[in-house]
């Protein structure tokens, strides 16, 4: 006798009618579980399944099966500690609260990176929403469902999630939930299963993207698991839906969130098809008949207002003023303006409005056609940001290369973070065409074999900022680039991996790039005391991130040399440099006059006296990270809080005790 709670369509109406299509067949489920091998990490344990009812959907809760992409993680990619792979499967630590390595942690928290010397300005900042996305992760699940709930298990500093996107089988991204600023205010200081109310939708998906914003976070946020709940789709419906996309374009049932303008823009490739006659008619209407029209359709009390309007309207303003006004608009609104009239089309397509171009906020809409359209307009392009675009093949490398070849000569800033469409020939094109580049950002472009093994990039000679965060590259190429770009100010080599000998890089920097202002070597390998010592020749250094760089290596005199020779140091991250001695800490106190951010996470043999010394002497200090430091137990919490108030420094102090 099986327990069947079944209510769907023409079946019996006597059972509960609250959950249509809910199907729970316990005995069948138990039988199935026994046969299943115990290889359970990926198995969706909370699946409620009945084999005999493939015709109807059933409710399903599933955990992440795999990770497709992520913008940053704390750990290095071959590790399983603090890395994105930990989001896969069931939660391991939830509901425990703490800083555990079995979770997914991102690289940054709070606003500290925005306050550091290496901070960048957003290109076309008006495109950004009120809660901009700092980091994201794209995950996929096993079964297609119509999503009803997405639950995110946060085990440390919850409150970072701002958007949840779903990728439907019609190859469109839909935003299922977006945070309002008020949502981020009441966040408990405890682990939580965060399941915000999703938009009602009929899309079928098994891929999600979660966006994070770190500004309000006190410290790193950590995610243990993500769960996607929804109703599965019967087989026959799936086949219908997987029909070619062209047929389905007319169906606006799925696109309930997008207005008619967006749909129209897509089909028309952003070109208004207005004939000359229509435009003039519209123009005349606006100038002459609009006021009468408005009068006719408004209530009495407003009539007086409209009677007294003067004849001046927007189109009477000189072109330059209009351009200035439109320059504040975000890209989407700019395109909409172009739909208004012939005049506005001319103004909104003026090249001066396309000097700074960023498609980062429109990553879900960016495709080759858009690039093509923009190429026609952006004749004076200087700054381009295509980060996060083209993740699912929407942008073809050929189109991108064409774009660059047409418009890349005068480009000064190019950001291609997490661009999955990049291949070797794209990078080659960058190197050949964009020789005026001052800033090149290629974060998270790791491929196998590494993209950056082409000497074309060595053509770039004017670089001041080079960002290769989480991107593999050939050391030879990097060294030759360092030699050619003497004006280099900001260099980010985080997670560059074991193939790069950092000592060599350090010696090169000391020889050729003495203007260096910021250097990020997070989790780089093979940096020894010798390398650190050579870095001290870059006397303009204001920011140095050596986190997890030297591990157990003994420092000798090198840290002292660095501190002595680089008095301008504002940000110094020495996370997990276990070789730091007490003398080094004393030197930090005496020589670190300008220090604003200091990270001493996981340092051994650190005493209260040394920390107090640092707090007293480094008067500009704003951030001090003492997590996982030896002598700072939970019982010192009060002392730390006192110091924090006294010296006006944000002191981080968290540690977990052995849970086993």
């Amino acid at each position: 006798m099986s327990l069947l709670a079944f209510g769907g369509g023409a079946e019996d109406g006597s059972s509960s009618d609250t959950e249509p299509d809910a199907l729970i067949d316990f005995t069948a489920m138990l039988m199935e579980r026994k046969h299943e091998c115990n290889g359970g990490w990926f198995s969706c344990g909370s699946k409620l399944q009945s084999q005999s009812h493939e015709d109807h959907g059933y409710y399903l809760g599933q955990y992440v099966l795999g990770v497709l992409d992520f913008s940053s993680q704390y750990g290095i990619d071959y590790s399983i500690s603090y890395t994105a792979a930990n989001v896969i499967g069931r939660p391991t630590k939830f509901p425990a609260y703490g800083d555990y390595p079995e979770t997914f942690t991102m690289r940054t928290y709070g606003d500290w990176w925005q306050l550091a010397p290496s901070a960048t300005q957003e290109i076309q900042a008006q495109n950004l929403p009120s809660l901009p996305t700092h980091d994201f992760i794209v995950v996929y699940f096993e079964k297609f469902v119509v999503p009803t709930e997405v639950a995110i298990f946060e085990t440390f500093n919850p409150g970072g999630v701002v958007r949840i996107w779903a990728y439907s089988i019609t190859k469109r991204w839909t935003c299922l939930w977006e945070a309002k600023p008020s949502d981020l205010n009441q966040v408990p200081h405890d682990s939580r299963r965060f399941a915000p109310p999703l938009k009602k939708t009929n899309i079928i998906t098994k891929t999600l993207r979660i966006d994070f914003n770190h500004s309000r976070l006190n410290y790193y946020t950590e995610i243990d698991a993500i769960m996607l709940c929804g109703r599965t789709v019967p087989m026959r419906c799936m086949h219908q839906l997987l029909a070619p996309v062209g047929k389905r374009l007319g169906n606006t049932g799925e696109e309930s969130g997008n207005g008619p303008i967006i749909c129209k823009l897509r089909t028309l490739k952003f070109q208004p098809s207005c004939q000359a006659n229509d435009a003039v008619k519209l123009h005349e209407f606006i100038n002459n008949d609009l006021s009468k029209f408005l009068m006719d359709s408004h209530v009495e009390s407003e009539q007086q207002k409209h009677n007294s309007t003067t004849e001046i309207c927007l189109t009477d303003l000189p072109c330059e003023i209009l351009l200035k006004i439109l320059s504040y608009l975000d890209l989407k609104s700019l395109f909409r303006m172009g739909q208004v009239s012939h005049l506005f089309y001319d103004i909104s397509t003026h090249p001066l409005l396309y000097c700074d171009l960023s498609l980062k906020s429109y990553w879900q809409l960016a495709n080759s056609e858009l690039l093509c359209t923009l190429a026609r307009r952006a004749t004076m392009l200087r700054k381009l940001d295509l980060s996060w675009c083209g993740g699912f093949g929407e942008i073809s490398p050929t189109e991108f290369k064409k774009f660059l070849t047409q418009r890349g000569d005068n480009m000064t800033h190019l950001r291609l973070n997490s661009c999955k469409f990049l291949n070797a020939s794209c990078i080659e094109t960058v190197g050949i065409v964009c020789d005026n580049l001052i800033e090149l950002s290629l974060r998270n472009c790791t491929t196998n074999p590494p993209l950056l093994n082409f000497s074309c990039l060595a053509n770039l000679k004017n670089l001041e900022r080079l960002d290769l965060f989480q991107t593999a590259f050939e050391s030879e190429l990097l060294l030759s680039m360092l030699e050619s770009n003497r004006k280099l100010k900001h260099l980010n080599l985080a997670f560059c991996g074991v193939s790069v000998n950092m000592d060599n890089v350090a010696t090169h920097l000391a020889t050729y790039n003495t203007q260096l202002v910021s250097l990020d070597m997070w989790k780089a390998h093979f940096l020894s005391a010798r390398g650190l010592q050579s870095l001290s020749r870059c006397q303009q250094l204001e920011e140095l991130d050596l986190g997890w760089c030297m591990r157990e290596a003994t420092l000798g005199d090198s840290l002292y040399q660095l501190l002595f020779n680089c008095p301008k140091l504002k940000k110094l991250f020495l996370s997990a440099m276990r070789g730091i001695t007490e003398r080094d800490l004393m030197h930090i106190a005496t020589l670190g006059k300008n220090l604003e951010q200091l990270d001493l996470m996981g340092i051994l043999n650190i005493t209260h006296e040394r920390v107090y010394d640092i707090l007293v002497h480094c008067s500009k200090l704003k951030l001090l990270d003492l997590c996982f430091c030896d002598n700072f137990m939970d019982r010192d919490f009060d002392v730390i809080a006192d110091w924090s108030r006294l010296f006006n420094v944000d002191i981080k102090n968290s540690r977990i005790y052995n849970s086993r």
Partner: protein, 311 residues
């Protein structure tokens, strides 16, 4: 510093063989799907139990996964069953380091690695090595050293692959005879090979062996084989004939309760003998061979992982 060098070599080799957790878990999903369609022939699996005692029962509160400074793990996936023990080297206590932390972490990470990533069932040495590398990626500094012994049953090929560093070990009994046994690895008496992470500055003074120095063995197994993995607390106190007597009784046993009873017996035997100050234990015998006048058992943490192969 030299430990840093070989770990980095290992990591670069790992990368070249694309050990990356993400790549493999993605491809692992698809291969898993493929594997499911083939019928599951009779594949061997372990029926395994654990028992043990901490040396100082009063001081160490019982925590799952460890007995004093010893630690163990068991994990199983579709393609392999894995077991392992690790014995923390006690000498670190005088440096203010908890010796059990290293071994416990090593075993916990091995377990996680088996579950999370696509590891090669042929190479338990790699498992140990990656686990060791993970140690260095922890925010909390973990210091100390331990021996280790890891055993993988490859279910596709019914072979067992082992890796052993130090004086823990394993023993395979079939039809009343010991068919395979691990060798003790020692630098000198009572100083086994060990994986270690010394505090900075003490590097050159501390014995640190790389996982590549592990003894590896591979052999096929049959239904009913008894496999014992234990730390030196067992091998140093219980003579081989006694162990054989206990183990041959449990050959082919599938009932985990009976197996647990045997494991308990073995552990208790080891404990009692270790407390006995007159008995000529294997430890005493080898001490005398090294011109040290010792007698009686060796008080030590005892960990017994006992498994039988079932098809």
């Amino acid at each position: 510093m030299h430990s840093l060098n070989w770990t980095s070599r290992l990591i670069s080799r790992a990368l070249r063989s694309s050990f990356s957790t993400l790549l493999d878990s993605a491809s692992g999903a698809t291969t898993k799907g493929a594997a499911k369609t083939t019928p599951i022939r009779s594949r061997p699996r372990f029926v395994s139990v654990v028992c043990g005692f901490a040396k100082d029962n009063l001081r160490h509160k019982y925590k799952p996964g460890k007995y004093g400074e010893d630690s163990w793990f068991k994990a199983s996936t579709e393609s392999a069953d894995v077991m392992g023990v690790a014995d923390g080297v006690g000498g670190w206590r005088s440096y203010g380091i908890d010796p059990g932390e290293f071994s416990s972490f090593l075993m916990r990470t091995c377990e996680r690695l088996v579950r999370c990533t696509h590891f090669n069932p042929q190479r338990p040495v790699n498992l140990l090595a990656y686990s060791y590398c993970e140690l260095m990626e922890q925010k909390k500094p973990i210091l100390g050293s331990s021996t280790a012994c890891v055993l993988i049953l490859n279910r596709e090929t019914s072979t067992v692959h082992t890796a052993n560093i130090g004086d823990s070990g394993f023993m395979v009994v079939r039809e009343g005879e010991i068919v395979h046994k691990s060798e003790e690895q020692q630098h000198y008496f009572n100083t086994p090979f060990q994986l270690s992470l010394p505090p900075p500055g003490h590097g050159p003074n501390v014995l640190s062996d790389s996982p590549e120095s592990a003894d590896t063995m591979s052999f096929p197994v049959q239904e009913g084989d008894v496999i014992l993995i234990a730390t030196d607390g067992v091998f140093d106190n219980v003579p081989e004939e006694l162990m054989l007597q206990v183990l041959r009784d449990v050959e082919g046993e599938r009932d985990p309760v009976k197996l647990q009873m045997t494991a308990n017996t073995l552990a208790l035997m080891a404990r009692t003998l270790s407390q006995n100050s007159d008995f000529l234990s294997p430890f005493a015998i080898s001490a005398r061979r090294n011109n040290i006048q010792a007698r009686g058992g060796k008080p030590d943490d005892i960990t017994v992982v006992l498994a039988t192969v079932a098809m």
